[in-house]
């Protein structure tokens, strides 16, 4: 055995997590039983944490874990009673390990993670279940970690996982990569789960910010995996690019006290240039397919911001055009609102305010804090201080987010200073 170097505990833990999804995917494929697969993988992980710090991390950690997990399964079935079902199970596991060599595995395991992700994100499962299951199985996060990140009690999260796994079994949700004709229907649900994981971390201004920030890393990691497994899907690449471009600016958008910093006031030297370059590269790869979708367009908008040298030098006209394209595919009032904000910079606040009036009839927007914040900002820029103050107040009342509320209040206070000047 070559790798006899000692490995640090954290390196071992990282390796285990890195390979969790890959190993579990094979175990579920073999057993069609999520609980059993998780249990025997857990046993194998315990062995790895014991052995690897002494013997070094094996050359193919995934194959090592798989071999160990299968042996744990065999042990379980040998110890259990000898009913016929159990015997059949034991035989199947023995067959699966028949080709294993005595020494360390020479080959990595066959990748079935696409089947795993499509099963965990099946539209017959509720969205919170899809998110929890994906993070647990593919991400290898513990129930405690997921519960903490999503600010839900651990018992509820554990229940959610149990119910989701039961539904997969009882309803006969297939464990497979959907056939080509189903991708258009099924992929959005997978992408939505990954983006939700990312946004939960990105939007986090409350709770344990460090832990929740990890969700951004996790979302990107899942996005990378999916992009690697299906590089010919432009929307997957679009989502990965979008997350990278957003994440590149994460460090600049909140100050030390948890206060939000607007794009305008962010210190652009803090932005992660490497991530921006990578996001840009992935986006180009996506756009080359000539099949733009909502994630690619949002990534393109983010790229315009990320590559602008200063706020004033932003190509607002390009952003307006991109939002218009996005609205054609995704005609939501929020997309329209963003387009109008871009117009207010490209053509001036009066042009933006005139367009905003056309949205006045939409009830949902009237209760949407960013609508009032955008209006307040345009009013401020056109010198209508009193109207701006009222609009900020509405935004303050409507937001659920404490950091946002503080931000709107400060803006409103600053208006007072402007009038006194």
């Amino acid at each position: 055995m070559g790798a006899a170097d000692e490995a640090s505990r954290s390196a071992v833990e990282a390796a285990v997590r890195e390979h969790h999804g890959r190993v579990l995917a094979v175990l579920v494929k073999h057993s069609r039983d999520f609980d059993l697969a998780e249990d025997v993988l857990q046993d194998a992980i315990v062995s790895a944490l014991e052995h690897w710090p002494r013997s070094g991390i094996p050359r193919h950690p995934d194959a090592w874990l798989l071999q160990a997990a299968r042996r744990k399964a065999i042990d379980r079935f040998r110890r259990a009673d000898t009913s016929r079902n159990r015997q059949d199970e034991l035989t199947r596991w023995l067959e699966a390990t028949a080709g294993d060599s005595e020494g360390e595995p020479e080959e990595p395991v066959v990748d079935h993670r696409l089947s795993l992700i499509f099963t965990c994100c099946h539209p017959a499962l509720s969205e919170p279940s899809r998110v929890a299951l994906t993070l647990r199985t593919l991400g290898g996060l513990t129930t405690t970690e997921i519960a903490r990140a999503f600010l839900v009690p651990e018992t509820s999260l554990a229940q959610r996982l149990v119910r989701a796994k039961r539904k997969i079994r009882d309803a006969g949700i297939p464990y497979r990569v959907p056939p080509a004709e189903l991708w258009a229907e099924r992929l959005p649900s997978v992408l939505a789960v990954i983006y939700l994981v990312f946004n939960e971390g990105y939007g986090a201004t409350s709770g344990d910010r460090v832990t929740r920030g990890d969700l951004c890393e996790e979302g990107i990691r899942l996005g990378r995996t999916l992009h690697e497994l299906a590089p010919g899907q432009p929307e997957i690449a679009g989502l990965l690019a979008l997350m990278l471009l957003h994440d590149a600016r994460r460090g600049a958008r909140v100050d030390g006290d948890g206060n939000l910093i607007t794009l305008e006031d962010q210190d652009r030297s803090v932005w992660d240039r490497e991530k921006i370059a990578e996001g840009d590269r992935v986006l180009r790869h996506a756009l080359a397919f000539g099949r733009p979708g909502p994630y690619q367009l949002q990534a393109a908008i983010s790229a315009v911001h990320a590559t602008a040298p200063t706020y004033d030098a932003t190509d607002w006209r390009e952003i307006v055009l991109l939002y218009r394209r996005l609205f054609e595919i995704q005609p939501s009032p929020v997309v329209r609102l963003n387009e109008i904000v871009a117009v207010s910079f490209a053509e001036g606040p009066e042009a933006g305010l005139a367009m905003l009036e056309q949205l006045d009839g939409i009830k949902d927007l009237q209760r949407y804090a960013p609508f009032w914040a955008a209006r307040a900002d345009m009013l401020r820029r056109s010198g209508r201080v009193d109207d701006a103050s009222d609009a900020y107040l509405r935004a303050e009342e409507l937001t659920q987010n404490e950091a946002e509320r503080r931000f709107f209040r400060e803006r409103r206070d600053a208006l007072g200073a402007e009038t006194r000047d």
Partner: protein, 118 residues
């Protein structure tokens, strides 16, 4: 696996028998039933009379209580069902999506419980 597809629709909004729309609706069900029979997935299925014909029966303290009407008053009423034999939920969803009433009503897909026989 066996799946029971329960077909719910608002009886007021359904195409009326005897009208051209009603006739077409009826014909679509005929075509659909033929398709699933040919595919070998149909185990059974029936259309039900209107909920106005429903009777709900409960037994409390050994006494039979009979009431007029459905078990629950809902906007959409159970109007029929198919029992299908499919290899997994995806196949069941694909067949459920072709049930004509799905275009204005809803189809609830429920796996049938299997008990081990020993």
């Amino acid at each position: 696996m066996q799946y029971l597809c329960l077909i719910y629709a608002n009886e007021q909004e359904e195409p009326k028998p005897g009208t051209p729309e009603g006739n077409q609706h009826f014909a679509e069900y005929g075509t659909y039933t033929e398709e699933i029979q040919k595919a070998g997935v149909m185990l059974g299925g029936n259309a039900l009379h209107s909920v106005q014909s429903a009777t709900t029966v409960r037994v409390r303290d050994g006494k039979v209580q009979t009431t007029d009407g459905p078990f629950a008053e809902t906007k959409e009423q159970l109007g029929g069902y198919y029992l299908l034999d499919c290899k997994d939920l995806d196949e069941a969803i694909a067949y459920a999506a072709k049930i004509p009433s799905g275009r204005f009503g809803s189809v609830e897909v429920r796996p049938v419980m299997v008990f081990d026989e020993e």
